[in-house]
């Protein structure tokens, strides 16, 4: 509590000014506290956007320079897995938004149910991603581990119209996969952090911490979760949908 310097007698701590227990003294009222917390969270999210954008800028340059290699690399990804993951994350954003609504409406059980759904969907996303990564590893597409360009110097039976790449361009598929693993890896790391925080928040929510009017934490976690969804909304077309019409 931050009023220990002022009050020495506990019963008289809040004599003279009434406010909900959770409103800190440097805020004028609960609404201002909530807006400030939101503002701070957005500032953090903007730094996160810049963080990911560095990778997107690198992707932009290399895709322009080595386009055939990027096409060939992208064709190795499973479009059903990417689409399913996109759907899973969009569902999890919806369930998270509904969770925040439940917190606002002070419905503890509903909040927990929506948070549990979000958690399951988030873990589902990571499972599909793990399956995809394992698949890439089996096909020798992991740069630095077991990368081989043999897939790209021969005709791929799934894409017979694709000409095999010349050796120097085939080497550039390693650039594509480096970006693929770094970007989806960084995104997956954000998902893992989100899931860990969500578990902790579920524990607090179970105790009624977010259904007494003080739902800032859940609201701001929701902002983080939607942000991670937005990153994937951009990753999906850029990594999976390059020139699928061939």
């Amino acid at each position: 509590m931050d009023s220990q310097a002022i009050a020495t007698i506990p019963e008289q701590e809040h004599a003279g000014h009434e406010h909900p227990e959770f409103v800190r003294h440097h805020f004028a009222n609960a609404a201002q506290q909530r807006e400030t917390a939101n503002f701070g969270m957005w500032l953090f999210l903007l730094t996160e956007i810049m963080f990911f954008s560095g990778l997107f800028a690198a992707y932009l340059i290399y895709r322009n320079w080595y386009y055939p290699a990027f096409v060939a690399g992208s064709h190795q990804l499973k479009i059903w897995a990417g689409t399913l993951n996109t759907v899973v994350l969009i569902c999890s954003s919806f369930t998270m938004a509904m969770g925040v609504y439940s917190a606002e409406m002070r419905k503890r059980k509903a909040l927990l149910r929506w948070m549990a759904l979000t958690l399951i969907l988030g873990m589902g996303f990571l499972c599909i991603k793990a399956y995809e990564w394992h698949d890439e590893w089996e096909h020798h597409h992991v740069p630095g581990l077991n990368f081989s360009t043999s897939t790209f110097t021969h005709v791929d039976p799934r894409y017979p119209a694709d000409k095999p790449l010349a050796p120097d361009m085939a080497e550039k598929t390693q650039t594509y996969f480096s970006l693929y693993f770094t970007m989806t890896g960084l995104h997956a790391f954000h998902m893992i952090v989100g899931i860990c925080v969500l578990l902790f928040l579920m524990y607090k929510a179970w105790g009624g911490a977010y259904t007494n009017g003080h739902m800032n934490t859940v609201e701001n976690f929701g902002l983080y979760w939607h942000f991670v969804d937005i990153v994937w909304i951009f990753l999906f077309p850029l990594l999976y949908l390059i020139s699928r019409h061939q």
Partner: protein, 102 residues
Amino acid sequence: MSEPTHHTHTVVPPRVYAAVFGTLLCFTALTVFASYLELGTFNAVVALAIAVIKAVLVILFFMHIRYSSKLTKLTISAGFFTLIVLLLMTMTDYISRAWGMW
């Protein structure tokens, strides 16, 4: 010191969330479908345009920016301006002197 500006907080009804959710799924289907069409360079343009629309929907409705204070709206706009600067200035640098690569 004057009173802080009061921003009345609106509670977004679930049906708005449901409508946005449905729209996001439609756009996902659209972007996958569009990737199979032969549009040349415009494939990338269409894919990114759809991604931007989806992101805007998430930001406006799921993240409540449609109902937020001017301060929050301005802050996010400033963030996106910085993002554009990052991408655009990097691009102009490479395009203008990419050692023959571009």
